[in-house]
Subunit: 412 residues, 2 copies
């Protein structure tokens, strides 16, 4: 997110913030509750320091002491620590082609509130749609506030090119929106940090396997590709989205497959979307534009699969394979997570895809490349947005701490 850390002197305070974040990350990221002594052992800090820091985190509502569990051995039993449920929360919003959504997660990773409003937002009016989404958001925020929770931030996911610095949407082709700043149009309550990001980037964040927010088995570096009408992508390295200069990295949908191929919405020819995007794929498979993924799967899976559908899906797999191979050669990742409609189709094109990868990835002999369905498939951009807010809190707990202090000191 931060474009580049600019020269800043380190003071004592910097030191404490670092260690505070370290302890917060350790507690929130642990698979099971840890005692203060456990945290000390894992971080390398002394028990004394950990105690002091944990006290602050508890004060800020980030961490909570659990009831003493059944003691496991000799010695004084430790007090189990865990991320505080239902105190600090992150809010994810999304405008999708098929729905508007708001989702709230707490530090344990649990969904504490959610509101989805289906609809068709192709070529819609931004003012109206964002107004409606703002209404949803306010409702959710009111509920959450009524339950005593404090929103630490809000992220809006949009299916288009979002300028990371200014927060402006440059263009969202399928929505038919261009050049607007969503901030004012939502009518959100002031005082809660708000940011806009690309849908695929946030969906990718949702897949990260870190902290309690996900089991250890999930990778932390991968390419996320989401297939729908458009094809979005995001590069994640060490749990962090690699956004590039403006935050627009990962636009895999317009990789060239054939410079003389069919014309694409973007104006060029032979883009990946024209082979592996929904509209193109449906057309090649001989399905009506409104057909569902399930219908396509039915065509493929029957005892007598439809040849046109099979050919179209195989072609999509090959095309996707070429685009993934290019990406892997350029960015050097070994895991690809497929989202959107791809998980359902994966069984039918995985062979074609793997063959292309094996042939075209230069490093293939030395790096096993895994292509898997994305673990989080349920509107992942909402989860990712909320999670990004919480990740920022854990990464810089001082912000929340001072909020607590201020709030206390405001009332003398």
């Amino acid at each position: 997110m931060a474009p580049s850390a600019r020269p800043a002197p380190a003071r004592q305070q910097t030191l404490r913030q670092h260690n505070l974040a370290l302890v917060a990350r350790t507690v929130v990221g642990a698979e099971s509750p840890l005692s203060r002594a456990d945290v000390a052992a894992r971080t390398g800090l002394t028990r004394a320091t950990v105690s002091a820091l944990v006290d602050r985190l508890i004060g800020a509502g980030l961490v909570r002491e659990l009831a003493p569990a059944t003691p496991q051995g000799a010695g004084r039993p430790g007090v189990p620590l865990a991320p505080a449920p239902r105190t600090l929360v992150g809010v994810g919003l999304e405008v999708n082609l098929g729905y508007l959504g708001a989702r709230v997660l707490d530090l344990t990773g649990a969904t504490v509130a959610e509101l989805i409003e289906p609809g068709d937002f192709h070529h819609s009016r931004a003012t109206e749609v964002l107004g409606r989404l703002g209404g949803l958001a306010r409702t959710v925020l009111d509920d959450v506030a009524a339950a005593g929770m404090r929103p630490a931030g809000i992220r809006l996911a949009l299916p288009g090119l979002v300028d990371a610095r200014s927060g402006r949407l440059r263009i969202a082709p399928n929505l038919g929106w261009s050049s607007l700043d969503p901030t004012g149009l939502l009518g959100l309550p002031a005082g809660i940090p708000f940011a806009v990001a690309n849908e695929a980037n946030l969906a990718a964040v949702a897949q990260v396997g870190r902290a309690r927010l996900a089991p250890r088995a999930r990778p932390t570096s991968y390419l996320y590709v989401s297939g729908d009408v458009g094809i979005g992508g995001a590069i994640v390295v060490d749990g962090e989205v690699f956004g590039g200069r403006h935050g627009w990295a990962g636009e895999i949908g317009h990789v060239v497959l054939d410079a003389a191929g069919p014309r694409c919405r973007c104006g060029a020819r032979g883009c990946l979307e024209q082979y592996a995007g929904k509209d193109a794929l449906w057309q090649r498979a001989g399905l009506p534009a409104q057909a569902t993924v399930a219908q396509l799967v039915a065509e493929l899976a029957g005892a007598a699969p439809d040849p046109a559908a099979v050919a179209a899906v195989q072609g999509a797999g090959t095309a996707l394979g070429h685009a993934l191979a290019d990406t892997i050669n350029l960015v050097d990742l070994d895991t690809v997570l497929l989202g959107g409609m791809y998980p359902d189709l994966l069984p039918f094109f995985t062979d074609a895809l793997s063959a292309v990868l094996a042939a075209r990835v230069v490093a293939a002999p030395w790096a096993e490349i895994a292509v898997r369905p994305a673990p989080v498939g349920d509107r992942p951009a909402l989860t990712g947005g909320a999670r990004e807010v919480l990740r920022d809190v854990v990464r810089r707990p001082a912000g929340v701490l001072s909020m607590g202090d201020d709030a206390a000191s405001v009332v003398p």
Copy 2:
């Protein structure tokens, strides 16, 4: 380089190291000598702290006080500080298809020693070649030591896939080398930190415009592409090479342009190298394989340019444009620096290339994309290797400091 900073507690010492690096970076990176007060103003540290830190840096031989310059105004004149010349040096080594080389830079960016041995190393024997390079390196190191300089590290550039963690070369197709660890074969003196890296990655580092090591005008985020027989690339973000999972990112030479195109060395078909690589380009232009770039330019630039040559170069420009467009869409950069043979050819294909970029880069309307010749063209991998060593010193001056301390304390 470091794969991922793992949880580490921050102590007082950490704090000092950070500020030490901050001061070092400020002094070494300044365009003109700064006084202690200037450094304090730029970093945000107090003059007292800066004084203490600068003293340490002077003690370590990183920084030097210059003779008081002509005073420029009222008040006590400041003592100008500058990176110390000819004390700490970085060493870059390279095995190229056409030469072996060793180059030594000091902190001012000046070349203090260099040795180049031309030759043809296509399909050569690694043991022998690395032995010869080791000889070169030892000669240079002896000279440098005789002049009282201290090498802070050595980087070896190889034209192939180098595993960043283990330092092993996986494969270097044109050299005909595979799966070897160069460390032992060079026979370098022990005690000097040594690392191996990909040639394009180091050449890319040489282009970075930071510090005194380069004027401000140069970008710090860009894609570097070097055209020769093979086409190497490297992604640089904020002055840092983006290596990906294993350090293999940037392999632009094998981006697909036509899945049914001519077969490539890599086993696949229609890679960029088959259109914009030297061998393919020469063949299409009707030149013998040994022809020089100057010969090709002569064919292009005459009053009556050779049609085959023009067509070949235009085709290469178009092909390169497609590969660059893919890369820019995937990684979101707005500057491309071309090295190797491309700077000479750029005038003849820049129009074709620009046209493709304008048509295919999704973000083109909002991000002006500059394609320029790389500023450092003289065996940049040597410079980049040496510079990377020095950059590491500036970034972690504590390492050098403790060396000084230890050396002092070893003799009681």
